[in-house]
């Protein structure tokens, strides 16, 4: 596997580093800074008030037993975090989340890649096909979930009727604990349009000359795909993998809409996001819910770092140079 190109590395070592200072010295720089801050102040204030403040508050809350409404609260240190270790519902939710993420992300990547490969073909009316495949990803997720609750209906749903047509008896997708997670994974494929577009952009950046050289050398379609296409779109695949895992661990809306806040049936769809929500809004345990959120954040951070460590080194960035 190739690493970064030599000329780029050479440039990085030979060119003198410009020392820049953000402190304005001239009158013009001061003028620019003032107006720059004025124009960006809505975003800065929004970030501070609606992101940074809640993040800090939730961190502080996670060290207390504060309730969502009323009640007494006191500093409990790491007690909430310690309790998580013995909370069977939390372990259940974490396990469900991990299963969904681990199964749904690679499957989503494969389907998105398959669609992108199809849409990278040169056929008449291609832009129409691209729009059609992209459309589901812009349907509001709640509306899509309601439609899918019809699709997944065991007796009258389209999916089981199609399975019936080929002699397979479809399961009770959302009513059977053994099939509820596969149902959610299947529903997740509905929204691969965004990733498909990213991969399609990557496919269009694969140099045609290299493919042609490979063809001249006798490489078949699979060999060309594996040895030419995949390395060039590997940064896009890594992006899809990392953002997919992050989204997977934050999974919430489809489970909440399709199977409710208790993770029906039998807790099989109780994912971490839903457990956090029900802890805060059903049981009013805001401190404990904050701890769940922070542990989830740490897990996502660790998974992201591990993914970069394990997969990132196999990524070929030469195509992006």
């Amino acid at each position: 596997m190739m690493t970064s190109t030599a000329p780029a590395a050479a440039r990085a070592t030979t060119q003198p580093r410009q020392r820049t200072s953000w402190i304005p010295r001239t009158r013009r720089q001061k003028h620019n800074l003032k107006w720059g801050l004025i124009f960006t102040s809505p975003a800065i204030v929004g970030l501070l008030v609606f992101t940074l403040a809640p993040v800090i508050t939730s961190l502080v809350n996670s060290l207390t037993n504060v309730s969502l409404i009323g009640g007494n609260s006191r500093f409990v240190g790491l007690e909430n975090y310690r309790q998580l270790l013995s909370d069977s519902s939390w372990w259940m939710s974490l396990s469900n989340t991990a299963i969904l993420a681990i199964a749904a992300v690679p499957l989503g990547l494969l389907v998105a890649l398959g669609l992108a490969l199809m849409l990278n073909m040169r056929v008449r009316g291609l832009s129409i096909y691209r729009v059609i495949f992209f459309l589901p990803s812009i349907v509001p997720i709640v509306a899509a979930a309601v439609v899918w609750s019809y699709v997944l209906n065991p007796q009258y749903g389209v999916l089981n009727n199609l399975l019936d047509a080929v002699g397979i008896q479809g399961p009770g997708w959302l009513s059977d604990p053994a099939w509820s997670k596969p149902a959610l994974i299947l529903f997740g494929l509905w929204g691969v349009g965004n990733l498909m577009i990213i991969l399609l952009a990557g496919l269009q950046g694969v140099p045609v000359e290299l493919k042609e050289q490979a063809m001249i050398d006798g490489a078949g379609p699979w060999a060309r795909f594996r040895n030419v296409t995949v390395p060039f779109i590997s940064p896009h695949l890594l992006f899809g993998l990392v953002t997919g895992l992050i989204a997977g661990f934050q999974y919430f809306t489809p489970a909440f809409v399709l199977t409710g806040a208790n993770g029906d049936p039998a807790g099989s769809t109780l994912v971490s996001g839903v457990y956090l929500y029900s802890t805060a809004f059903y049981n009013f345990e805001l401190g404990y819910a904050s701890a769940i959120g922070w542990v989830l954040f740490l897990i996502i951070a660790v998974v992201s770092v591990l993914t970069f460590r394990l997969v990132g080194r196999r990524v070929y960035y030469g195509g992006a140079a």
Binding site: P136, Q155, D264, G267
Partner: protein
């Protein structure tokens, strides 16, 4: 079949073996097939929506209301109901404004998110709550423990209201925390057993002889059962699906004479043998019918109660649902008290009181005016009658004129009987939300064979009691 490489790149074609095999589909065909699949799925899903008979006119109309102008006092009520129920609360407020000229009522539509009144909770947290809101009776001890509800005891005393004025089970539920914090506005005497006479007759059963015991219920269900492939397409009843797993267990548990909390109401006792036996009965029933996961009796988008599908024989229903079904379908409904477990419970033992109560948040702007509105809705002859006629809401007031109307109602009359017999309430404890959530998880796990009934109920007890201990430690007894 032609190769579709762009002309500018055809220089390599001659050197390569790129002939398309005879069996291959064209790229366009593949794309068209995929598009057709996606579009077809969506179209078929849309076509499968079943008309439930509820017209759009029932869902329109205002769910908010501005206060009558020129009144010296104004209160606000959060209305969490949409559709006809929500409009009925607007009508109730208008009637209240007509009978007096002191207090105006603002109705604010505050719909719940998956059973959570997020807007109400947020307003309480922000110390700017409405004057009147709704709470499940078993949830108010939690709010009481957190100090966010107003003690209604002094108001009741000032108006001369006491135990003699209410149904015994309702009064018991109102007083489980020592004093009264909420008033019954929408009483659910849970549950009568409703049945579809046509389904019973089709199964060769006597439609005028509903089951009296759980054994009879099982026998009738076996007669009604129909399967297609491995799917259950017609079933007698679904005792795991009586308004969720937790309400199912309460109903069957009470039928077995079970108690879910200790006598002094300070510990959850779901591990008790009666509760475990009740859950075992539910699990055995599900297994004998072919498994809860194989039930496929409801059309997608069907919003009437499941008895309306014509694929279910007997199910318990709330008054609102029974009324809805009788008004919006031509199902020939029969009703009877819910069966009991012979040798464990007794006739009527399965019944319990649920519903929604009205309360005044402790930071309410005008609690006196709020009480006057609540008192009118829940204890005055005019208010209780209007509440019943608007929405079939059953009053908790023992002498309410609406109860005579209820008794005479051909569909809802059975609720008067249930209300008289009801002795049970769901556990009214400060961690009712935790208990409900754990029951939903672990009853489900037992029904699907992942845990034994004993294991499931022990876990519920352990988790809920631990949460209760934690609540006590933080907020006191």
């Amino acid at each position: 079949m032609t190769d579709r490489w762009p002309r500018t790149r055809t220089f390599a074609r001659t050197a390569l073996h790129t002939r398309t095999p005879a069996w291959a589909l064209s790229r366009r065909a593949v794309l068209l097939a995929a598009v057709a699949g996606v579009a077809g799925s969506g179209a078929l899903a849309g076509c499968r929506v079943i008309d439930d008979g509820v017209g759009a006119e029932n869902l329109s109309g205002a769910l908010n209301k501005e206060p009558a102008p020129g009144r010296p006092r104004t209160i606000e009520m959060y209305n969490q109901w949409g559709g006809r129920a929500g409009q009925a609360w607007v009508a109730m407020a208008q009637l209240y404004e007509e009978i007096q000229d002191e207090v105006a009522v603002r109705i604010t539509y505050a719909p719940p998110t998956a059973d959570t009144q997020v807007r109400l909770l947020t307003s309480i947290a922000a110390e700017s709550p409405p004057d009147v809101a709704f709470v499940l009776p078993e949830h108010y001890p939690q709010l009481t423990g957190l100090g966010v509800v107003t003690d209604l005891g002094p108001y009741l005393a000032a108006d001369g209201l006491g135990a003699a004025d209410f149904n015994p089970a309702i009064w018991k539920a109102m007083n489980l925390t020592g004093t009264v914090y909420s008033m019954p506005a929408m009483v659910d005497p849970n549950f009568p057993l409703f049945y579809n006479r046509a389904v019973l007759a089709d199964a060769g059963l006597d439609p005028d002889a509903p089951p009296v015991t759980l054994d009879e219920l099982t026998a009738m269900s076996e007669a009604i059962l129909q399967q297609q492939g491995g799917r259950i397409t017609r079933i007698g009843t679904m005792p795991w699906n009586y308004y969720g797993y937790s309400n199912s267990l309460y109903t069957i548990g009470f039928a077995f004479g079970a108690s879910f909390v200790s006598a002094d109401n300070d510990r959850v006792t779901t591990e008790n043998p009666e509760v475990v036996t009740a859950l075992e009965w539910i699990c055995d029933f599900a297994e004998s019918m072919g498994g809860a996961g194989n039930v496929a009796v409801t059309q997608p988008g069907f919003s009437l109660p499941v008895l309306g599908t014509g694929n279910v024989g007997l199910m318990p229903m709330t008054a609102g649902d029974a009324n809805n079904l009788s008004e919006n379908s031509d199902i020939d409904l029969g009703s009877a008290p819910f069966p009991y477990a012979e040798g464990a419970g007794q006739p009527g033992s399965a019944t319990w009181i649920g519903g929604w109560n009205m309360f005044i948040p402790s930071e309410a702007g005008d609690p006196d005016a709020a009480w006057d509105f609540i008192r009118w809705v829940t204890t005055s002859p005019e208010g209780t009658t209007e509440n019943f006629e608007q929405m079939s809401n059953i009053p908790g007031l023992a002498q309410a004129p609406a109860l005579e109307e209820l008794e005479a109602d051909p569909v809802l009359g059975v609720f008067a009987e249930v209300l008289r017999d009801a002795q049970n309430v769901r556990p009214t404890i400060p961690v009712a939300g935790v208990l409900s959530q754990q029951l939903d998880i672990y009853v489900g796990q037992a029904v699907f064979g992942q845990l034994t009934a004993q294991q499931a109920m022990q876990r519920v007890s352990d988790i809920t009691n631990a949460a209760w201990d934690e609540f006590r430690e933080t907020n006191g007894e």
